[in-house]
Symmetry: D2
Subunit: 360 residues, 4 copies
C-alpha cells in the first residue's frame, strides 16, 4: 500500500477524495489536512458548522468510517513531514496551490486539482486514457526542478470530457477546428459559497471567469505531442463559450468539429466505441466499465439521468450527427461528471496510471 | 381601426395575443375563437378548468377587460364569416394550421405562429425590421393562389433572435458560417402539456424535435434575397444544436460566426447598435425602444434579468468577443423572449409593418 | 414462487413495480398488462415514444432484463385469465380501478395503488408495520362479497409517512389532534402529463385536488380499531393543507400533534426508535433496515439528501421539538419517499406481509 | 421634504431602499452609507465586483438615476453627522445594528430591518395598518433612553403576512391558537452569500435558525396591547415550523387558527376584506390598492403569480376553509413578498405612517 495524504480534505473536492479512496486497493490515506481552523479536530467534527451543528458533508454516501476519527492536520504539518508520504492529493484554491505544491513536490509526487501549474512548460496536463505518454514529462520536470517529486495537475473539469471525446476523432479523422458551448452544473463552482440560488434559479449565467481560456489552452496541450522538455500543442483551433445552468451535477457540452477527413456519424460512433474498448487504463481499479458510452436515443445524454453512470467516470455521448456548417464535420453532445471523472475520482485514476508507469 | 380575429385564443400564444392587442391603436379584436369545447362560453369561463375551477391563464397581467366577456366562437364560425375581418391571427398547432389557414386566406390576410406554410416557395418568413422587403412576396402569393388574403408566418421563436443579430453582421462584414447552440426555455414548448417538471428539473434535454432543421432553413431564407416568385437563400452555412434548459422564459443562444471580412468585437457592437437605432420599424406601436441592446457586463444577458426588457421585444446581446476558431470571426450570446418578440407580440409588430406597407 | 401480474405496467408506478419485483425471492412476474395501445408489444418497445423513439422510462436503474422482452397483454387478457395468478398488482387511475379490480378480485387477491375502494367499509387501508391486524378484514370482505380474492389498497402516498410516525406517538402518549402541512414532490402527480414545469418552477401550488380529504380520512381509519366488519376510526382530529413544491421526489410533512399525555421530544424520539426496532415487518424481504430514522441534525430531513435512504423505504424524521401551541404536544418534520414506501415498493412489502399472514 | 440616509445601501435590502425611495414625495435620500470597502466610491461603482466588473444589483428595475453618482459614505460619517438627517433607514446585520443604531438614535429616528432591538420592552414592532397605536411607545422609549430619536424595527419578514392576516380574525372572532408552517423563499436569506444553489435545488431545508422563535414572539407582541411602558403580549399560543423552499421571492404560509368564537370561511373572508378596505394606512404613498387580497381560485396564492401584486405590498390569501382539527377554527394559505412589504418598502410605509403621526 502506498501512503497518501489529502490536503484540503474538508472542502467539496477534498470530501470526494475521502470517498474515492475508501477501501482503495493500492492507496491508504495516512493523513488529511485542512485550514488552521480545522486542524486538531476529528474529521467529522471539522465538517460540522460550529454555530448550527449542521454537518457540511456534500456526498451522497455517508462519511466513510476510516475518515471519521482521523485528526485533521494543518497544511504545514504535511509540508514538514512530506517525506513520510508516497503521494499527496491537493484540493485547494489556485493561490494556495501555487504556494504549497512546490514545497511538497520537492519531496513527493503531488496530484493537483488546481490550475496553478497547468500552463507551465514542463508540466503535463494528464487525462488517464488520453495522453498517458505525456507522463514522461514528469521525469523531465523532476530533474529540471531538482525535485524528488513532481506536480501533476488535472485539467479543468470542462476540458476532461471534451478532450476524451475529441481524442478518437483526432486519431481517426484529424481535426481542424472545435467549437464548443458548455452548460455547466453549479457544483463546478464549489460551495464556499459556490453559486447563489438567487443568481441561477430560472436563469443562465453565460460567463464563467477564465473558463473558456482554460479549456481552449488545455485541450490543445492535452491532445498535443510530447517533445523532450515540453508538449507541442496540437494544431487545432478551439473556441468555447462556457455557461452556468441550473443543474446540480454534470457538465453538458455541445460540440461542433471540423475534421480533416470526411467523418460520417456512424464512423465517429464506432471510433469512439473502439477507443473506449481499448483504452489504456481499462484495468485500473477506478476505471469505469465504459470509458465512453454512446446513446442512440436522441434525447440523451441528460445530466440527471446519465451523470452517475459507472459512478460518474464515464463520458456519455449522444446526438452524433453530420455537421452542416463544415464540409467535413460532426456535431455531438457530451456529458461528463464534473465532480467525479472531472475531479477527485479522476485524480485517483490518474494516480493509478502513474503507479502502473512506476512514477510513484 | 382594423377588425381582427384571433384563432386559438385560449391557448398560451392565444392569450398573448389577447394581451398584446389590448388597447391597440390600430387593431380591434372583433372575434376570438377556440376549439369546439370552448365555443359558446365567455372567454373568462373558457379559461377555467371545468373540474377544479382553476383559471388557466398564463400571463403576468390579468385578463384584459375587453376580452373577459367576449363569447368564444368555433373556428368554423370564423371561417364562414372570414370576410368580416381585416386580419386574422392564428395560434394553432401545425396540423390545424394546414387545414384552417388556406380557407381563411382565401378571404383575408392571416398572420400565423405555426410552421405549416413557412417552407413553401411563395411564402416569406417575415421578421419586422430584418427582411421587410420580403413582404412583397405576399402579393405574388395572393395572385398565384387566387386569394384575397395571404398567409404570413412568423419564424420559429429560436430563429428570431438569431436572424436579428446576424443581420447587421451580414450587412457589415459578410457571413460564411454560423454555429449556434441554444438553451431554450420551457415556455417554448407550450402548456398542453408542455415540458413535464419531472423531465427538466435539475436537467438539460439536448434535443427538441425538428427545431434545429427549422432554425437552419429559416435563417438562410430570412437573410436571403427576394426574387420575383421566391426567396433565394443566403449563402451562409448554419449548424445548430438546440437544447431545453430549466428556465421559464427566454431563449439564450451561444453564437459563433465566421465572417467574410475581418470583424473586431467593437465593430460588431457598433454595427448592431447602428442597425438598432435605424431599424425600419422603430416607430411602430409595438416596437421596443431598443431593437438590439448590447451589454458590456460579461455576465449578461441572463434570461431572468434581461428577458422582460422593453416588454420582451428587445433582443439582448452580450459577450461579443473575437472568435478563436476562425481567422475572421466573432462570438456572442443573445437572449430573445420566445413568448414576446418570438411569438404573439412579434406577430402584432408584423401586422403593424404590413399595415404601413398597405398590405392589410 | 407466487405468480403475479402487474396491470398498468408502462406507467410510472407500473415501472416501479417492474423494478421492485426484480429478483424477488417470493414473487415472480408472470404477466404485465397495459392499455390496448401497448398490448402485443414487447415491454421495452411499449415504453418507447412512437414518434421520437425516446424511451419513456423513469427509473434510476435500467429496465430489468426479465421485463424487457415480456409481451404486454391487454387488461382484458388478465381479467379472463385471472385464476392463473396468485396475486395481481394494479397501478391504474381511480376510474379504471373501479371497473377492473372487482372483476379480478372475484378470482384473485388484488393489491391496488388506486383510491377507488379505500373508503368502503369492508376494505382496510393497510400499511405494513402499522395496522397489520386490519388485514383480517380482508377475510370478511371476501365472504361478504363472495370473492375468492380481495382488494387491498395502499393509502395515499401522503398518508403513509404521517400514519407511520403517528403510530408510536399514539401508542405511547395518545393523540387528540394532528395538524399537518405537506410539501409534496412533483413525482406524486405522475407523468401523464404530471405537473408542468411552467406551473411549478420557482413556485408553490398550495392545492392538490382531494388530497387533504384523503389524508384526513385515511389517517384515522389506519390508526383505528378493527371491529368485526369494519374499522372504527381513531378519535383523532386531523387537519391538513397539502401543497406541491419544486422537488422531484420525496414528500416532506410538517406535523404538529396535541397528545393526550405529556410527551417530551426525547421521549417521542425514543418511542419512534423503539417502534422502529420492533416493527412487525422487519424481517420481510422489502423491509428497510430502519423503519423510522430520526435525525438530530436540525437541518434534516431534506428530500434530496434523505429520500433514498434504504432505497426509499425508510420514513425519515427530524426536528422533534416541544410544541408551543398545545399544553401537551410535539412537532416534527418527516420525509417519505412517495414513489417507494408510498407506492409500488410499499405495495410489494404489503404483499409480503399478507403472504406471511397466509392471506395469499 | 425630509432628509433621509440609508445605511447598508449596497446590500440587497439597501438596494430595495434605493428603489423604494426613488421619487418619493416626502423623503429625499441625502446620504447613503456602506462598509469601509465601498466608502468613497460612486454608488454604481461600489456595486461592481472589483474582479469581474459584474454589477451586483439585484432589483428588477435598473439603478435609479438619483443614486448612481452619489458617493457612498462610511457608517461613521453618518453617525458623526446624524443630526443632519430627519430619518435613517438601516439595512445591516444584527450585530452591526446593535452597535450602530443606538448611536444614531441619540440624534435621529431610526427605522431598522434588523432584529437587534425588536425584543426590548420599550421597543414596539410596528406593521403599518396593524398596530399603529403601538407607535406611541416610541415616545416613551425616547424619554426613557434620553434620545432625540428612537429605534423602530420592522418584524421578521415571515411575521409580517401572518400578523396582517390574523389581525381581522382576532378582531372579529378572537384567537386561541395559531399553527403555521412557512415555505420561505431563498431571497429571505440574503445574498452574502445567501442560500447556495447546491443546498436548495430539488430540495427543502426544514430549518431556518432562530426564525420560528422570532415569528412566535413577534406575532403576540404585534397583536398585543400597548401599556404605558411596554406591550402586553396577546394571549394567543403560536407554534411554527419554518422551511426554506426553492422559490426566488415570496413567503408562503400555511396557517391554522383556533378561534374563540365560531368563524365560517365566508365570514373570515369578509372580515379580511372589510379590514383591508378600511385599513388605517390606505392613503399613504406606498400603501397598496389592496392591503389584503383574497382569492377564490383554490390554486392561489402562488408565489410566482401573486407576489408582485401591487408591487409586492399586498398580502395575498387563499384557500380559506373551515378547520377540521378545532371546534371553532379556520385554515388558509397566505403569501407575502419578503423583499417588499416584508422589507424595505414596508419600512418606507412605516416611515410614512410615523410621519403622519408626527413622530418624525
Amino acid at each position: 500500500m502506498l501512503s497518501v495524504a489529502i490536503i484540503g480534505a474538508t472542502g467539496v473536492v477534498g470530501q470526494e477524495f475521502i470517498v474515492a479512496l475508501d477501501k482503495h486497493p493500492w492507496f491508504e490515506v495516512s493523513a488529511i489536512a485542512a485550514s488552521e481552523r480545522s486542524a486538531g479536530k476529528r474529521y467529522i467534527d471539522a465538517l460540522r458548522d460550529p454555530n448550527t451543528g449542521i454537518l457540511k458533508w456534500h456526498q451522497h454516501r455517508e462519511v466513510p468510517d476510516y475518515a471519521k476519527d482521523m485528526v485533521v492536520k494543518g497544511v504545514n504539518d504535511i509540508i514538514s513531514d512530506a517525506k513520510k508520504y508516497d503521494l499527496i492529493f491537493t484540493a485547494v484554491e489556485t493561490d494556495d496551490a501555487r504556494a504549497i505544491e512546490p514545497r511538497l513536490a520537492e519531496h513527493v509526487p503531488v496530484i493537483s486539482t488546481a490550475a496553478a501549474f497547468r500552463y507551465e512548460k514542463d508540466v503535463p496536463i494528464l487525462i488517464p486514457g488520453v495522453n498517458d505518454a505525456h507522463a514522461d514529462l514528469l521525469n523531465y520536470q523532476r530533474k529540471a526542478r531538482g525535485w524528488k517529486g513532481f506536480i501533476a495537475p488535472l485539467p479543468n473539469c470542462t476540458t476532461t470530457g471534451l478532450a476524451i471525446t475529441l481524442k478518437p476523432i483526432l486519431d481517426s479523422f484529424g481535426i481542424k477546428r472545435v467549437i464548443m458551448t458548455s452548460l455547466q452544473a453549479v457544483s463546478g463552482a464549489g460551495r464556499s459559497p459556490g453559486v447563489a440560488a438567487l443568481d441561477i434559479f430560472d436563469n443562465i449565467i453565460p460567463f464563467i471567469p477564465k473558463e473558456e481560456e482554460k479549456v481552449q489552452i488545455e485541450t490543445v496541450k492535452i491532445l498535443g505531442r510530447l517533445m523532450d522538455s515540453y508538449i507541442q500543442d496540437a494544431s487545432i483551433k478551439v473556441s468555447c463559450t462556457c455557461t452556468r445552468v441550473p443543474v446540480i451535477d454534470g457538465h453538458t457540452e455541445s460540440v461542433f468539429v471540423e475534421s480533416v477527413n470526411e467523418c460520417m456519424p456512424e464512423d465517429v460512433k464506432n471510433a469512439m466505441l473502439r477507443y473506449s474498448r481499448n483504452v489504456s487504463i481499462k484495468d485500473l481499479p477506478s476505471a469505469p466499465r465504459d470509458y465512453i458510452y454512446v446513446h442512440d436515443d436522441p434525447s440523451r445524454p441528460q445530466p440527471r439521468l446519465d451523470r452517475d453512470m459507472n459512478d460518474g467516470m464515464t463520458t456519455v455521448v449522444g446526438r452524433i450527427r453530420k455537421d452542416t456548417a463544415f464540409d467535413n464535420g460532426v456535431k455531438y453532445v457530451l456529458l461528463s461528471h464534473n465532480e467525479k471523472m472531472g475531479s477527485a475520482k479522476g485524480a485517483v485514476l490518474l494516480a493509478e496510471m502513474l503507479k502502473v508507469k512506476d512514477l510513484l
